[in-house]
Symmetry: C2
Amino acid sequence: MAASEFDLIAEINERLPAKGERVRIPSGDDAAVIEMGGASAVSVDAVVDGVHFRFADFGPVAVGRKALAAGLSDLAAMGALPGEAYVVVAAPAELEDGALLGIADGLAEAASRCGVTVAGGDLVSAPTLMVSVTVVGYEPEDGRLVTRSGARPGDRLAVTGRLGGAAGALALMDGVAGPSPELSEAILARQLDPAPRLREGVALAAQGATAMIDVSDGLGADAGHLARSSGARLEIEVERIPLQEGLAELAGAQGAAIELAASGGEDYELLVALPPDRLEPASDAVAKLGSELSEIGYVVEGQGVALKLPGGGEIEPHGFDQRRGSRSGSG
Amino acid sequence: MAASEFDLIAEINERLPAKGERVRIPSGDDAAVIEMGGASAVSVDAVVDGVHFRFADFGPVAVGRKALAAGLSDLAAMGALPGEAYVVVAAPAELEDGALLGIADGLAEAASRCGVTVAGGDLVSAPTLMVSVTVVGYEPEDGRLVTRSGARPGDRLAVTGRLGGAAGALALMDGVAGPSPELSEAILARQLDPAPRLREGVALAAQGATAMIDVSDGLGADAGHLARSSGARLEIEVERIPLQEGLAELAGAQGAAIELAASGGEDYELLVALPPDRLEPASDAVAKLGSELSEIGYVVEGQGVALKLPGGGEIEPHGFDQRRGSRSGSG
């Protein structure tokens, strides 16, 4: 009863949001035609079954949501306004059409919530389920895009929201006992329904952010990327890292929770460098969006990242190695 | 001796072409930043080991070339000028770094030849090698982008180059005896080093093409897409289909060669509809680019596609079903 490729694609297209104002010709031709203007931020990301999610734990809708959120998080880290997304779904031939439509539903849900148009896509056969997403965002008219490379000694470091939830969610999926049902559900949502910080990114850019990156590989690893790009050293006071609520209970100890928050990736929060006098207005701007901004450290001369413990020691930053699909130390 | 993900990505980036004139910030930040202007054509495509290529037969460089060519062929079919490409390589952890660098070399070679900039990318772990490519092209200043939907009854149908070579190459890889070594090499190149018809696409658009599509699923299937989008019927005289040189010898019979040319996909030639008086100037324009344009049929009222035999019968159009990874009838 499998529909033909073309019927299925037509059905998938129906589930994806209507065309945006820049879309002259939507998906369905050789290419989508978009009226682009000014500076655009473009990023590609992919999530793979067994590496970035487990289909059995996620189900199709959450796979679609996560795939798009991971891409949009890169736009958030540039302070870009979301524009269009282009999606390749590579799926085993035996995957039911209903699952593919569920992935489309998840993409549509995340797209609608984030104000992005899925303007094109491709569906191919592959032994493993994988969703690859290209996102295009735009420089705000009265704003500017923020890179990883502008952090300067003297800047303060801050992070949006709370960290460690996405790593905690994986532990819950592995059967680790959680905190209360409400807190456990909120932790699971960090994997099953992640929220890219698009509005926060634009607000932080407007407030004078000198550098931004999204926390996808893990705070320590992503701080390392930012330090390298900026040619500066990042010092983070680990006791100031804002922890996902209920994480300590789940992890069994405060120290273990801090480890999850410092090394677990995929929280899709923003790590931002700001001049000291911009920290308070930036916090106010983020608070107005219903989120929070926590100061966690500072930028100094030098290179690399220090995750400083209150006693005076340091913890070794680890991160997620996308290539090896495994945790690894980050240099 | 495997390099870390970040070292490897740095090495890959080194092999990819320098930044284009529109690229304000190249790969390496959260997103590339591109100065886009006017109408852009955007397309996504993916090639998967065992479905669109066999790594053992292709080797890494040809995988990179084919992945990019498949994407660029969609831009050619719009008559777009090539701009930027964004690449996700999903590779098994055990694939050697040298193979990944080879894929980068193949991407770089095709990018350089086609005038496209690889402006961003991602490298992820997956059980199966897969390369997903998003391409962005631009509307020529004095031209226009051509869709699949503008063919009108009375238009003539033509195709660039020669068909059946890509299907013939797969037969050669399967051990079927080929024609002369020179002809066999040219046939193999249709898979290992495909040439998207970018300049031909722009020329055909300028010459008044009413509709275009690239031959990726197979002439019959792609003609079906064009017929459906245009709300018209396409009649193709199979004896006029230009055959890859040596194909009849390889296929064992002229009829079998025609079958390969009509149903085999991945030739990345362009099928174009033109008003009758535009056919000759369009042929001249394509000839000036060192290629050829062959008239193969016409557009009439109705729907669907007829592949007409000289005797009066028809052959059933087949195509490549990307979703199932198998050949299927096209409706």
